[in-house]
C-alpha cells in the first residue's frame, strides 16, 4: 500500500515533480508510465526516502519510508540496477543484504534461483554482468526480504523478450498473493500488458490515472454499419457524440453497450462494434512524448 499526496520537488526553477498524488493498492500491479524525464524516478526516490521532497508526503504501508523498521523486510526496492559496485560479486550483494536484514543465507540461493542466475554467474563481479543480469540481480535483491511492497524503476530495461515475459508473470504472481507493486516504464506497451492500474505522468504532473480498463475504455467505441448515414442519425438521436473514424467506421464517445443499444433502437444493422483499443491512452502518451521531443529540438 503506497500513498502519495501532493508531492512536489523543485530543483531551482525546474519543477521535476509537480503536485503529484496517487494510491497504489495491494493485490494489484500499478504501472507508472511516462516519457523519460517525466518525473517517475524522482517520485520513486522521494517515496523511498532517498530524495527529500520540497513539499507533500509519501507513505508506504501507512508510514513514511524512513520510519519503517528494517525496511528491506517490508518493501523491495529496485531503482537502478546499474548502481552497484562493479568489483563486488552478485552473490555478495545479496549476502550483504541478507546480513543487514537479518535473514538466513539460504534465502540468497533461493532468490538467485528465482531470478535464474546460476551459481557461476552469481560469483562473477558485477562489472562483467550484462544489463539484463543486473536487472535480475536487482529483482533478486528486491525480493530478498520477502517484502509486501515492490517499487521497481524500469525493471524491464535490458531484459530480453523472454526475460520481460518472465518478469511480468513474476509480478502478476506477487500481486495475486496480495502484494503491492509499483512499476515504472516509459513504454506504454509494457505497462499495458501487466498493470491493473495505470498512472500516467508527464512533465512532473499526473495526466491520467485509473484502472487500465477505465483508461482504455475512455477511448470510446469503434462502430460501423452498412448504412452509415442511418448510424449517424441513430447516434445523434440518442445524444451520442461521434466522429468519422476512417474507412466508414465511426468513433463514438460512449460504451459499446450504449452504442449497440442506440443502433438496435433505431433499427440500424451493425457490421462492427468494439471498444476503441485504448487509442486514447496511446494518443495521450504520444502527445506527451511528442511535446517533449519538440522541446528538445527547439532547445
Amino acid at each position: 500500500m503506497i500513498s502519495v499526496n501532493s508531492l512536489t520537488k523543485r530543483y531551482g526553477a525546474v519543477t521535476a515533480v509537480d503536485d503529484v498524488s496517487f494510491e497504489v493498492k495491494p493485490g494489484q500491479v500499478t504501472g507508472f508510465l511516462g516519457p523519460n524525464g517525466a518525473g517517475k524516478s524522482t517520485t520513486m526516490r522521494i517515496l523511498c526516502g532517498l530524495t527529500p521532497a520540497t513539499s507533500g508526503t509519501a507513505t508506504v504501508l501507512g508510514r513514511p519510508y524512513a520510519a519503517l523498521p528494517n525496511p528491506g523486510r517490508h518493501v523491495g526496492v529496485l531503482l537502478d540496477a546499474s548502481a552497484q559496485h562493479a568489483g563486488r560479486t552478485g552473490r555478495e550483494v545479496l549476502n550483504l543484504g541478507a546480513t543487514l536484514m537479518g535473514i538466513d543465507r539460504s534465502r540468497v540461493d533461493e532468490m538467485l534461483s528465482v531470478v535464474g542466475l546460476t551459481d557461476k554467474e552469481s560469483n562473477r563481479r558485477i562489472r562483467n554482468y550484462s544489463l539484463g543480469m543486473r536487472q535480475r540481480l536487482g529483482i533478486a535483491h528486491a525480493l530478498l526480504g520477502d517484502p509486501q511492497v515492490l517499487v521497481l524503476d524500469e525493471p524491464a530495461n535490458g531484459l530480453d523478450p523472454a526475460g520481460i515475459r518472465w518478469m511480468r508473470s513474476l509480478l502478476r504472481g506477487f500481486a495475486d498473493e496480495g502484494g503491492t507493486v509499483l512499476l515504472s516504464s516509459h513504454l506504454l506497451n509494457e505497462i499495458e500488458r501487466v498493470a491493473d492500474d495505470i498512472i500516467v505522468i508527464g512533465r512532473g504532473r499526473i495526466v491520467a490515472q485509473g484502472t487500465k480498463d477505465e483508461l482504455l475504455r475512455g477511448a470510446g467505441t469503434t462502430v460501423r454499419a452498412t448504412d452509415e448515414r442511418a448510424l449517424w442519425a441513430a447516434l445523434e438521436a440518442e445524444g451520442i457524440v461521434a466522429q468519422a473514424g476512417g474507412s466508414g467506421a465511426l468513433l463514438a464517445e460512449a460504451e459499446p453497450a450504449q452504442v449497440g443499444a442506440a443502433a438496435a433502437k433505431h433499427g440500424v444493422a451493425l457490421v462492427e462494434l468494439r471498444g476503441a483499443d485504448g487509442r486514447g491512452l496511446e494518443d495521450m502518451f504520444l502527445e506527451l512524448t511528442a511535446a517533449d521531443a519538440r522541446e528538445e529540438v527547439a532547445a
Binding site: A66, P69, N70, L79, L96, W166, L170
Partner: protein, 281 residues
C-alpha cells in the same frame, strides 16, 4: 539477451526458470515468521559496513597493501643497522605509513556509496542515515585497530628474527603511553579521512585534500611567519607527532585538541549533516 545465451547449455532449476515459455513462475518462496518491527541494530550495520571494506577486489587489495607496507617497512629496518632496533622502534617505523594509508579506508567507506552509487541500496535498506554514518565509523575504527594489531604482530616477528639471526639486542620494552598514543594517532587520522570523505563525497577529491593538507601547512608555514605559530595549534600532522614520543605535555594535548576540533570534528559534523540532507541518486 546475453543473459540467456550464457547459460543456454546448462540444465537445472536456474536454466529452467530462464526459459519461461510456460509463462507461470514457480511460487515465490516466503520467509516464515512475523515481519520484524525492530530496526536494524548498529552492530549488524557495522558488520555489514566492515564487510563492504573488504568484499570488493579493490578493497581487499587495499587492505592487503596496508599489511604489505607495514611488512616492507620492517624488512627494510631489518637490513638497516644490522636490524638493531628495539621492538618499539619497529612499531614506530610503521606509524607514518599507517597514518597515511588507514585514513583512506575511512575516505573510501564514505565516498564509495556515492562514486559507485551503492548509496541507493544502502540508504534504502537503512534510511536512518546517521546510523549508517555511525556504522561506517565503527567499521573503520575496527580496521584502524586491526592495522595496529598487524603492526604489533609483525614487529614482534621481525624483532625476534633480528635478535635470533642478526644478533640484535633484545629490547621488548613497549610503554602503554606509546601504544595508546599511536593508536590514538591512527584513529584520529582515520576519523579525519572519514570526515573529509563525508564532506566531499568524492573519492579523488577527498584523498587529494587529505594528502595535500600537511604539505600546504609546511609551505605556508615556511612563507608566512605568523602561520608558523598557528600551525603549532592547527597543523594536525604536527600536533600528533608528540603522541609517539611517549608523553604529552598539557600544552601538547591542548594543541592536539584544537587541531582535532578543526580537522576531525568539524569535517565529521559537516559531512554527517551533508549526508543526512543529500539526495541519493
Amino acid at each position: 539477451m546475453s543473459a540467456n545465451t550464457v547459460t543456454a547449455p546448462t540444465q537445472g532449476p536456474a536454466a529452467e526458470s530462464r526459459t519461461p515459455h510456460h509463462a507461470s513462475v514457480k511460487e515465490l518462496p516466503r520467509i516464515s515468521g512475523p515481519r520484524p518491527t525492530r530496526p536494524v541494530s548498529l552492530a549488524t550495520l557495522s558488520r555489514v559496513e566492515w564487510r563492504k571494506q573488504v568484499d570488493t577486489r579493490a578493497g581487499l587489495w587495499f587492505m592487503l597493501s596496508i599489511g604489505l607496507v607495514v611488512a616492507a617497512v620492517m624488512v627494510i629496518m631489518f637490513f638497516v643497522q644490522q636490524g638493531n632496533h628495539s621492538y618499539g622502534d619497529y612499531i614506530a617505523g610503521t606509524a607514518m605509513p599507517l597514518s597515511i594509508l588507514v585514513p583512506i579506508v575511512g575516505i573510501l567507506a564514505a565516498t564509495s556509496e556515492w562514486s559507485q552509487r551503492t548509496g541507493l541500496t544502502t540508504f534504502a535498506l537503512e534510511p536512518r542515515r546517521g546510523k549508517v554514518v555511525a556504522a561506517k565509523t565503527v567499521a573503520s575504527v575496527v580496521t584502524a585497530l586491526l592495522s595496529m594489531v598487524v603492526a604489533l604482530g609483525l614487529g614482534a616477528a621481525v624483532h625476534g628474527l633480528a635478535v635470533a639471526v642478526r644478533g640484535a639486542d633484545a629490547d621488548w620494552s613497549l610503554t602503554w603511553s606509546f601504544v595508546g598514543g599511536m593508536l590514538l594517532m591512527l584513529v584520529l587520522s582515520l576519523l579525519q579521512g572519514l570526515g573529509f570523505g563525508l564532506s566531499l563525497l568524492n573519492t579523488p577529491g577527498a584523498i587529494v585534500a587529505y594528502l595535500v593538507l600537511p604539505t600546504v601547512w609546511s609551505i605556508l608555514g615556511g612563507m608566512v611567519s605568523w602561520l608558523q605559530d598557528a600551525a603549532k595549534w592547527l597543523d594536525i600532522s604536527a600536533t600528533m607527532g608528540p603522541l609517539l614520543e611517549g608523553q604529552m605535555t598539557g600544552e601538547q594535548w591542548a594543541q592536539l585538541g584544537t587541531s582535532t576540533l578543526v580537522w576531525v570534528v568539524l569535517p565529521l559534523a559537516f559531512g554527517t549533516w551533508r549526508v543526512l540532507r543529500a539526495e541519493v541518486k
